[in-house]
Amino acid sequence: MRRLNLGYFIKEGFSSIFSHGLMSFAAVCMIVACLIIMGSFSLLAVNVDEMLSQLEEENEFLAYIDEDYTDDQIRALMEQVRQIDNVDPNGVTFISREQAKRDYLKGHESDGLYVNMPDEVLRDRLSIHVKDLERFTETVEQVKALPGVANYRAENKVAEGFVSVRNAVTALAMILVGILAAVSLFIIANTIRLATFARREEIAIMKMCGATDGFVRWPFIVEGLILGVMGATVAFFLQWGVYTAVCGALTEGGATTLFTLMDFKLMWKRVLAVFVLSGSVIGGLGSGFAIRKFLQV
């Protein structure tokens, strides 16, 4: 693109936004609406993902150690466990049978049934954190196979449940955002096509004068990009407002005692970047599609 043309394309892009003000306004409104719907759903997915991540943090399993193992053997076993690639090396903790008993009796101190409970009832154990929950069962099997591990206790079903929920939420979010993006693109393309229809004569003149397709197309793409960025900016601030209002309502209703919502201030840069990028792509591509038909001269 020659420098002269770049300046011309930008100037034409801006001037045509103002000369077709109503259509530009309609296109911006469509972009705002589409981005807010997509953004709201994405933020919901991000929050669900965050909640699942928090729950995952607490996920661990126990490996009971052979009663005949000495302290040195236990240390060696811990090292072996740490070597397993899905085990968090800092997440392997030794719990002695005395500690295990104390933990077990918490809340039951006054219960006569446990008063003279001998220390030998419980075994020494390792508490093990996994890195990737999807490989939970596989990791449990690896630990179980180590010599010195007498038994284990792992909530495989819970771990699998987390993985299923996360995968389902991610897949649903991707499908819905994909569908919404396609619908947005279609709506924007049609809105811009209406604006372009009024200028088909202008395009025909350009083509008859010897303009290349690129020369005709670029001002429309620039126009689409500008509309996209304008729509994204408006949508960002509206999204901020809506998100804050929803969070406020949930907090007042006491729902946040069950889960924590992410603070918008912590993710505004990411949201703005995604909105501007999506708006630009939707606007630019929409214009590109819209103009295609009118280039057949």
């Binding site: 003149i205 008859m208 004068c209 010897g210 397709d213 020369f215």
Partner: protein, 226 residues
């Protein structure tokens, strides 16, 4: 230079618009293409501007073989042509100067080239004092002069005028045709499509007549009856 060799055109709906047209127009010629409505004149213009392709036969315009021209070559071919329409097709929201700049911009002309060429062309068509006027402030004859200036501004080898006087009164029509004759005298090939018999007979030029898609006359000057 234009060459049509045994050109046939059949549209998708089965209409046979051209039936074996042979025509050769040399550089520098002035040719009237005449014929009644539906005779195939517009089809010839569309073939020459690469809006459509021939069903059969060869079409060559200024060295471009339009039978197998690539899509990216079409703009370059069109830059060798200046096209004038009956309804002027000016951009209403742009001034005369703006309309000419628009045409020059499409072929990548620089600002310096525009500043040099536009006043020259406006002077040639007699509109040097109308650069800042908008089309709707001008008469039909003046608007057609702007359209001629726009066709000329990129210095084409040939001008194709499709019914350039169709919307003008006889006096303005004569003025426009005289202007086209003057441009032709400066070396630009001129193909004028018209059905105005009096105008054609007034200028002693080559006349190509078609009827029902067939060429029925090709001769220099002489009396033509529609």
């Amino acid at each position: 230079m234009i060459r049509l060799i045994d050109v046939h055109k059949e549209y998708d709906n089965g209409t046979k618009a051209l039936k074996g047209i042979n025509l050769r127009i040399e550089d520098g010629e002035f040719v009237f293409l005449v014929g009644p409505s539906g005779s195939g004149k517009s089809t010839i213009i569309k073939l020459l501007t690469a809006e459509i392709t021939a069903s059969q036969g060869r079409v060559i315009v200024n060295g471009y073989n339009l039978n197998n021209i690539r899509r990216w070559q079409i703009p370059h071919m069109r830059r060798t042509l200046g096209i004038i329409f009956q309804d002027f097709r000016l951009i209403e929201k742009k001034t005369v100067q703006g309309n000419l700049e628009f045409a020059m911009r499409t072929v990548g002309a620089s600002g310096r080239e525009m500043r040099k060429r536009i006043p020259y062309v406006l002077d040639l068509v007699g509109l040097d004092d109308k650069a800042d006027a908008y089309p709707n402030e001008m008469s039909g004859g003046e608007q057609q002069r702007v359209a001629i200036a726009r066709a000329l501004v990129n210095n084409p080898r040939m001008i194709i005028a499709d019914e350039p006087t169709g919307n003008l009164d006889p006096k303005r029509s004569l003025e426009i045709m005289t202007l086209l004759e003057r441009i032709n005298a400066m070396g630009t090939t001129m193909l004028v499509v018209t059905h105005e018999r009096d105008l054609v007979n007034r200028f002693s030029k080559r006349v190509v007549a078609i009827k029902d898609g067939e060429l029925i006359r090709d001769g220099q000057g002489g009396y033509y009856r529609a």
